[in-house]
Symmetry: C2
């Protein structure tokens, strides 16, 4: 992957497809605009697919997994060993994302980009390890610039591969104990908000640990001094392997003309990096849900995404994105399957 070449080829959506979709939406048997955001989603999907009547897409959720050196600072409620344990849980189909992906009719692919564990071959696992965990960002960089680019490349290549195999909708997901810490650091650096405003309790730490986590994030920013105008530098300084791969998946989705449903807090940190590299990727992104993490809305607002759902979730894995995909499917079904005023013999008031 050549990043500059990838970015140069990402095309903004065309107004003509929005107009085409609007024309159809306006002859369906309902008052104009009365399906609200379902109509908004349908218009954008038509524009992304560049097709007047897109088929229901094949869907995949990618659970990018990586470990974080900063876990040793005690910023998570769970020990680092849980990252590989949960990868095995994903592979055997028992995690929340497996349940919700089945609910959405989506495949799950687990991607080891940076887990501190050696996995054997396994159906459903993409082995693409760049690092066995990042460095402790409170003491130094997460990884080298080169490794950050490698992780982005992995996400990008997976997007290309799945697009070539006929998948037409992607969801981001992730697993990595302590990964709200680098995500919060990214949120703070890029949006300019303080760690005090953007740091939350992640998977469930107490108030004392929250204060420590804020301190760790402040140190990470002071030690590494990331430049917010250099997104790759931000990733290398205070990011994570799975976060970088999510940025790559977003770039790949936009390159391939595939919508990408961005899950919650950690996924949005990855999406934010992709947006900073190439603002046009936003056209291909849907914000799945509003996470309980306080820094999440700051990032969504920065990108300009309005979340589909607010179910007070804070699990990650892609769980919010899987549910949001069912809503996007519903929007396409409305667009495809509803009768027109003319065909149904219903009087159109024009309103």
């Amino acid at each position: 992957m050549n990043l500059e070449s990838v970015i140069s080829k990402i095309e903004p959506l065309k107004a003509e497809y929005f107009e085409l979709a609007q024309k159809r939406l306006d002859i369906l048997t309902k008052p104009r605009g009365s399906l609200g955001r379902l109509e908004e989603f349908a218009r954008r999907l038509v524009a992304i697919y560049r097709q007047e009547m897109p088929a229901l897409p094949r869907k995949a959720v990618f659970v990018f997994s990586g470990d974080h050196g900063v876990a040793e600072e005690g910023v998570s409620a769970f020990p680092q060993e849980v990252t590989p344990q949960m990868v095995y849980n994903f592979l055997s189909g028992g995690a929340a994302i497996n349940v919700l992906a089945r609910h959405a009719g989506a495949d799950v692919a687990v991607v080891d980009v940076g887990v501190n564990h050696d996995f054997g071959e396994s159906a459903g696992l993409i082995r693409a390890k760049v690092l066995k965990g990042t460095g402790n960002i409170s003491r130094g960089p997460a990884m080298s610039r080169d490794d950050a680019l490698k992780c982005i490349g992995i996400g990008y290549e997976i997007a290309m591969d799945y697009s070539n195999r006929g998948f037409g909708m992607f969801a981001t997901g992730e697993m990595g104990i302590a990964n709200t810490t680098p995500s919060t650091a990214i949120a703070a650096v890029i949006t300019g908000k303080s760690p005090g405003e953007t740091t939350g309790k992640g998977t469930g730490i107490d108030d004392a640990s929250l204060r420590k986590k804020i301190d760790v994030i402040e140190r990470a920013i002071n030690v590494n001094k990331p430049d917010k105008n250099d997104p790759i530098g931000v990733l290398a300084a205070v990011g994570g392997t799975e976060i970088a791969a999510i940025a790559g998946l977003c770039l790949g989705a936009a390159s391939a003309g595939v919508p990408v449903v961005v899950d919650g807090f950690i996924s949005t940190a990855g999406a934010l990096i992709a947006y900073c590299l190439c603002p046009t990727v936003k056209d291909y992104m849907f914000g799945a849900h509003r996470s309980q993490e306080p820094g999440h809305m700051a990032m969504l607002d920065f990108i300009g995404l309005s979340p589909v759902l607010d179910l007070q979730m804070r699990l990650g894995e892609g769980t919010g994105a899987a549910i949001a995909m069912t809503i996007l499917d519903a929007s396409l079904k409305i667009y495809r399957e509803m009768a027109t005023f003319k065909d149904a013999g219903v009087t159109d008031s024009g309103k």
Copy 2:
């Protein structure tokens, strides 16, 4: 149906089922509480079904249909003939509710309680006409007290019948040109807010028509002087046949121990009447979505329901409820299908 006897038999949910559900949710492979409202929904469904491990329910959406004399005041963007036209559209499967019910795996039953049109027999149509449209509420009552009770009885009997036939989740829906007008009158009378605060543009009237609509609703209240402590009287004075039937469906669902997903503005007016008759029915209700009508949240707040979705919809028919049913299904699947920490060999932090 004997209303007092029905009400006396509706039982509040039992704390022990919430505790049972919480115990299971807390051993599943996710941080405690991290699935947010999905966990809330699962707990309540377990309590409604009074079963430790409820099956995925068979689902039905009921589209109660009726006409409104007040349509002659020009309060709707659509002419009254659209009510029967849309009923035919429901029966041939082309309306938004048909698409979204299929998406949710739910049956659609259309119920003629008060349409000003003679329908023949048709698959999917329940013929239970009480009136050929209500009276013009800006000049007198919508219907007699006896007719309001008959309409409630129809909703109640349908709930009982479908429960006996093995359906385990109901959604309310409705069709009736001008029916935001009686619904707004009900909202104003019961919540004590003024028609100026609670009146919206329905299916899409302009500002001049909105002022007229507010005036019509104020006149309806002044002419009929409904007593908010007499819910049947409110229905008879300023209600509608479909709104009364929805109140009956809610009472029937609670009697039968079946959850009822309350759609948007008009459905919530019906649910509000049921709640005023018997506050315990709230235990069995889910508020599907936040409608664009300004009086909707006032009613949901009055009942104490927090909507599942906010997709800026304002169509009715049961469309929001159909989508919300897919989220409730997701919550039950999480509860049923996720692996436990022990079975998956994942370390439980207890948080």
